[in-house]
Amino acid sequence: MEEFVKLQDITKIYKMGEVEIRAADRISFSIQKGEFVVIVGPSGAGKTTVLNILGGMDTATDGKLIVDGEDITSYNSRKLTGYRREDIGFVFQFYNLVPNLTALENVELALQICKDPLDAKEVLEDVGLGDRLDNFPAQLSGGEQQRVSIARALAKNPKLLLCDEPTGALDYNTGKAILKLLQNMCRERGMTVIVITHNQALAPMADRLIHIKNGQVSKMELNENPMSIDEIEW
């Protein structure tokens, strides 16, 4: 399979006055279409920087990012926004739902800017919230909120689904359920999913596991037989 996502020497340098902080130091890796990728690393290793660059939320100081043959690093901010709205689905650690919109509306919020969206209702039913469509975020539990968040990301029918610590704010069981949902989406829909976490225990469920340490890729493993989340315990 060809390389769907390819990072080449991605470097990100934050300048804090005189001090230069290399949040990402020549990170290179590629991901193939339909893979379930887990990027792990301790806090401050540069995971989020990678995610930001992958998601088009930040630009690399140096290096090249190619997604589906497009050189994202050459994009200006407007093109980046287009990239985010068309190609990326984002699942936040704190769900980031619009509190004033119902579950359904939160999904629609994302859909209205897409060219080729899925049906919001169906997606919500797929994530198991068919009966909570008209509830406001405050009326939903954390897991349910994260499901809405995922549904919102999925409904855009993105090329990449980026998840930033999707279980970070959830309890164990709910976290598992969410990961299961993500895994299912990957398997059933052939969606490329990238999950960023500090939780090493999730490693076995990934098709591809990337370890990041001190702003560099310390190790990348391919897992021929990824485990189902149900089998993983931590």
């Binding site: 930040d58 709205r85 990326i88 704190f94 975020p137 009326q139």
Partner: protein
């Protein structure tokens, strides 16, 4: 030590959130500046006015008497407790001509120290025939310094009864503290309103009593005019003056009566003297006449005697003449005899001669024959004898002739005698005729003298009779002599004096509304800002708490923050506002009170403290409550993010078909608006306030400019009003209307009675123009009487009168009520008001001629003619007026254009107020919108970042925020329109001057302008916000909830 760390945190906080700090600082500064500034304007206006009046040494109390005031009166007033200075002055209203117009001026004497006039141009009068003229009038009239003006009294008395001369030279222009505005008061002569005042030296007046006494109250100068303290002090002394009123009135009365009685006595004495004289004269005349008669009669007797003597002499003469004639006749007979004797003689001589010839012939013949001789002898004898005979005869004749001649001589002397006698008689006759003539003349003279004497006596008697009657009249007059009446006034009696105070009151009214609006917004803004700040720092508060800081230490930071911002803002606001706003507003009012050039703007601490206090209470209160809420919670709880606010279903969702049609962004917007209620109200209030301020600003202009249009195009549909000369003959007056009718420029005319009268209701009395049209049916062609709101037109009827709206309001009268007309001669007359009509300039009371007749008991004497031109242009009206003024019957012409000019002046003075309002509104709008947007963006940073991550373009993110702003702005504008309309109503009624009713309307265009400006302000703020939105980092979305 911990405090030190906190202190550092405090300063860092300010530095870090300088925007927020400044926004509180400025909103407090604006609020305090506006509040204290506008509030301070009212006392500052009073101070400024007071300073001006003090500078001009304006009197406090004025005493006017109907019969003049004497030196004794001055002394008496001076003796009143509380009076410090007293001066007497003279004044008189006079008519004079300016161009073609006859105008009334108030001539007054320049007082030694009080009511000092301000010389604006030229010099003060020095001589008796010099004067200075009202500078306002001099500027607008054709008079110039150096011109002479001639005054006439306008009554049946001569002006020289009051003034020493009637012609004065203008030597300068002055302003007077007695006339601070444009009005010059009313009068009883001429057109009824005074056009200007004229000051002359004391000596120019020839009156022997003062017309007014001016007094100053002890201590009043130190008090501020237009304040209760001043009013009370003056009132107190005024009452004391009132107390001596009775006594002084009586004294003056007694004085006049005494004087009159003395005069009466003198007059009576004179009459008695005259009577005596007449009596004496009569006796003398009679005596003289009798004497004259006697003389005449004597003369007559003498004359008669002379006549009879003459007659007898005449007779004698006649007799002598007869004798003479007889003598003559005898003589002539003798002469005849003589002649016949002579003839005989001649015959004898002839015969003798014949005989002689014969003899000679014979003798010569030589024949001596006897015969011949005999014959010759005989002949000879004969001749001899004949010769003898002839000689005898001749002798006889000679004696006869001498006899005749002697007789003739005798007769001749007789004739001579007669002639001399005749001459004597002639002379005597002539003498007699002369004497007769003389006598006749004597008689004539006598009769004349007699008649004359009789006439004189009769005249004298008549005169005495008259004098006696006059005496009686005078006595009666003295008996019912009016008691002199004193009028004691304070400064309120000066034209427009109280108007200035009213303006200050108006300022207070404005000051009580506008700044409150500002202040409310300011308070709300600082409240939201501080609440937000405390909420934002929830975690920080929790941390500090967890670290063990006491609540007050934690709260101190926020309270200190608010305190510092508020105190600094207040200080700045007070310092700035209390100087700038009063200055601008008093300067603006200066257009109305041109000569009050003193501006006093001290700091009014109370307003500054009031405003600052209120600001402090608001911000500290808000901060305290937010802190209190947070500090009450447990530290652990504070560390956790606050429970998210519940999404809410809004009412709109229940209308499903509508809700379905909304896309989600609108849904979110609607929900957001409903959810953030505080922000909603703040924005709506802020935008609404801004909009309202601008609507008031524009609306005031609309309302004033509406006057001209409404008054002169819709209500008074005439262009000029000719005041007829009351002294002109009926014919001359008729000529005026004929001329007008013939003028091509004139479309219609209407005669009417237009006169200033006093009307009242209860205790309140006001002046209005009474307008009685001659032709009630066509009256609506010239004046439209209608209801302002319903536009229903009224017709004048005999059932009652129609009063204009403003006056009705001022007197608290409505249709159906009874209004009292106070007439000097007829007393109080009550009449029913049938309708209240729309009117903007001046006040009118309209009635039909028959109502007038019923009321006054006489037909109205029309004194004016209003005319309407064809095209209704100023030029036409002027042309007609100029032409008509050439007529004797026309006294003056007033044009509606002049009044339009007045409206323009008013607008000018308000322009600056409007600019102030619009700038303030803009500032308010900006601060409110900026602040709220700022808060709203900070509050929703996360949401917005998420949207960005989701791939919303900047424009879309902005739209998401702006949509809300637009809706809020629209709602705010709508609210502002309503608020503005209400505020405008209030303001317009408050700022109105007495003689004018402003329109109550606000033009659609003003709403539009205000709205557009609001939109512009709003866009500007949103434009600034755009950059702020752009700067939101998407990484925010990854952070945990604070």
């Amino acid at each position: 030590m911990k405090k030190k760390a906190l202190a550092k945190d405090f300063y860092m906080e300010i530095r870090r959130s300088l925007g927020r700090f400044l926004s509180i600082f400025f909103i407090v500064a604006i609020g305090v500046a506006f509040f204290s500034g506008i509030r301070a304007t009212e006392p500052d206006m009073r101070y400024s006015g007071d300073a001006y009046f003090d500078e001009k040494n304006l009197m406090d109390i004025e005493v006017i008497s109907t019969m003049g005031l004497t030196e004794d009166d001055i002394e008496a007033v001076k003796a009143v407790d509380g009076i410090s200075e007293v001066e007497g002055g003279y004044s008189v209203d006079a008519l004079c001509t300016e161009g073609d117009n006859q105008v009334v001026v108030h001539v007054m004497s320049i007082l030694p120290t009080m009511n000092q006039v301000q010389l604006e141009e030229g010099r003060l009068p020095e001589a008796e025939d010099e004067c200075v003229v009202d500078v306002d009038y001099l500027n607008e009239s054709s008079w110039e310094i150096g011109d002479t003006v001639t005054f006439s009294s306008g009554t049946e008395d001569e002006i020289t009864d009051s003034l020493k001369t009637d012609t004065f030279t203008i030597v300068g222009a002055v302003s007077s503290p007695c006339y601070i505005g444009f009005q010059r008061g009313s009068t009883t002569i001429g057109t009824g309103s005074v056009s200007a005042f004229v000051c002359v030296p004391d000596e120019s007046f020839s009156m022997d009593v003062y017309t007014e006494i001016y007094a100053q109250v002890e201590g009043a100068k130190d008090l501020t005019a237009f304040t209760d303290e001043y009013d009370n002090r003056v009132e107190e002394v005024l009452e004391s003056v009132e107390a001596i009123k009775e006594e002084r009135q009586e004294a003056r009365y007694q004085e006049i009566v005494d004087e009159a009685e003395k005069e009466l006595e003198d007059a009576a004495q004179e009459v008695a003297d005259a009577e005596q004289e007449l009596e004496d004269g009569r006796a003398e005349a009679e005596e003289e006449l009798a004497e004259a008669r006697k003389k005449l009669e004597d003369g007559q007797a003498e004359l008669d005697e002379g006549k009879s003597e003459l007659e007898s002499s005449k007779e004698d003469l006649e007799r002598s003449r007869q004798q003479l004639a007889d003598g003559q006749a005898e003589l002539e007979q003798s002469a005849e005899e003589l002649n016949s004797n002579i003839d005989t003689l001649n015959e004898q001589i002839d015969a003798l001669n014949q005989a002689k010839e014969q003899y000679n012939a014979l003798a010569a013949g030589g024949q001596t024959d006897d015969t011949t001789l005999a014959t010759m002898n005989a002949l000879y004898a004969q001749i001899q004898e004949g010769e003898a005979q002839i000689a005898r005869a001749q002798e006889q004749i000679e004696s006869a002739r001498s006899q005749i001649e002697a007789g003739q001589a005798e007769i001749n002397s007789g004739w001579e005698q007669i002639e001399s006698g005749e001459a004597q008689i002639d002379q005597a006759e002539k003498d007699l005729a002369d004497a007769e003539q003389e006598l006749a003349d004597g008689w004539e003279e006598y009769y004349e003298g007699e008649a004359e004497a009789e006439q004189e006596i009769a005249d004298g008697e008549q005169k005495i009779e008259d004098a006696k009657k006059e005496l009686a009249d005078a006595e009666a007059e003295i008996a019912d002599l009016d008691h002199p009446k004193w009028y004691v006034y304070d400064r309120d009696n000066l034209t427009e004096y109280s108007g200035y105070g009213d303006n200050a009151d108006r300022m207070r009214a404005i000051g009580e509304v506008f700044p409150v609006l500002f202040f409310l917004v300011a308070a709300l803004i600082s409240l939201t800002t501080m609440t937000r700040m405390v909420e934002e720092q929830r975690t920080m508060v929790g941390t500090l708490k967890a670290l063990g800081y006491e609540r007050h230490s934690i709260a101190a930071k926020y309270l200190g923050y608010a305190l510092l911002a508020t105190v600094a803002g207040s200080l700045f606001g007070v310092l700035f506002g209390e100087k700038v706003f009063p200055y601008i507003i008093i300067t603006a009012y200066g257009i109305m009170y041109q000569h009050m050039n003193v501006i006093r703007i001290p700091y009014n601490l109370e307003f500054g403290l009031m405003a600052s206090g209120a600001a402090l209470v608001c911000t500290l209160g808000a901060t305290f409550f937010s802190c209190y809420k947070e500090l009450k919670e447990q530290a652990a709880e504070l560390m956790r993010p606050p429970a998210p606010k519940q999404g809410q279903r809004v009412f709109l969702e229940r209308i499903r078909f509508l809700w379905k049609r909304l896309n989600f962004s609108w849904k979110a917007t609607v929900r957001n608006i409903v959810r953030y209620k505080k922000r909603f109200f703040m924005t709506v209030f802020g935008i609404g306030g801004c909009m309202a301020l601008m609507i008031v600003g524009f609306g005031i202009k609309d309302s004033i400019s509406a006057i001209a249009v409404l008054q002169y195009e819709e209500i008074q549909q005439y262009d000029g009003n000719v005041i007829l000369n009351e002294d002109a003959s009926e014919e001359e007056k008729a000529q005026v209307s004929r001329e007008l009718e013939e003028d091509d420029n004139v479309a219609g005319i209407m005669e009417g009675l237009l006169v200033q009268i006093t009307i009242g209701n209860g205790e309140q009395w006001e002046e209005v123009y009474l307008n009685v049209p001659s032709d009630v049916d066509n009256f609506s062609d010239f004046v439209v009487l209608r209801d302002r709101v319903t536009k229903e037109e009224y017709a004048l009827s005999d059932d009652g009168v129609v009063l204009t709206e403003k006056m009705a309001k001022e007197l608290d009268l409505k249709a159906g009520d009874t209004v009292t007309i106070r007439d000097e001669d007829k007393g109080d007359l009550d009449v029913t008001i049938e309708y209240i009509c729309e009117n903007y300039m001046s006040h009118y009371l309209y009635m039909t001629p028959s109502v007038y007749e019923k009321l006054y008991g006489e037909e109205p004497e029309y004194n004016s003619i209003c005319y309407r031109t064809v095209d209704r242009t100023t030029e036409e009206a002027d042309e007609v007026g100029t032409q008509i003024l050439e007529q004797e019957g026309a006294l003056s012409v007033s044009y509606t254009t002049d009044l339009k000019q007045q409206v323009d002046d008013m607008l000018e003075s308000l322009d600056i107020v409007i600019v102030v309002l619009i700038i303030s509104a803009g500032m308010l709008a900006f601060v409110v919108l900026y602040n709220l947007n700022n808060i709203s963006i900070t509050e929703r940073k996360r949401e917005l970042a998420t949207l960005k991550v989701l791939g919303f373009y900047s424009g879309e993110v902005c739209a998401y925020v702006y949509r809300e702003n637009i809706i809020l702005t629209l709602i705010g504008s709508l609210f502002g329109m309503i608020l503005g309309k209400i505020l405008h109503q209030f303001i317009i009624v408050t700022v109105e001057i007495d003689s004018v009713m402003f329109g109550r309307n606000v033009d659609v265009s003003s709403f539009l302008y205000a709205f557009l400006l609001t939109v512009v302000f709003s866009c500007f703020v949103n434009g600034v916000m755009y950059f702020k939105l752009k700067k939101i980092n998407m990484v925010e979305s990854l952070k945990s909830v604070e």
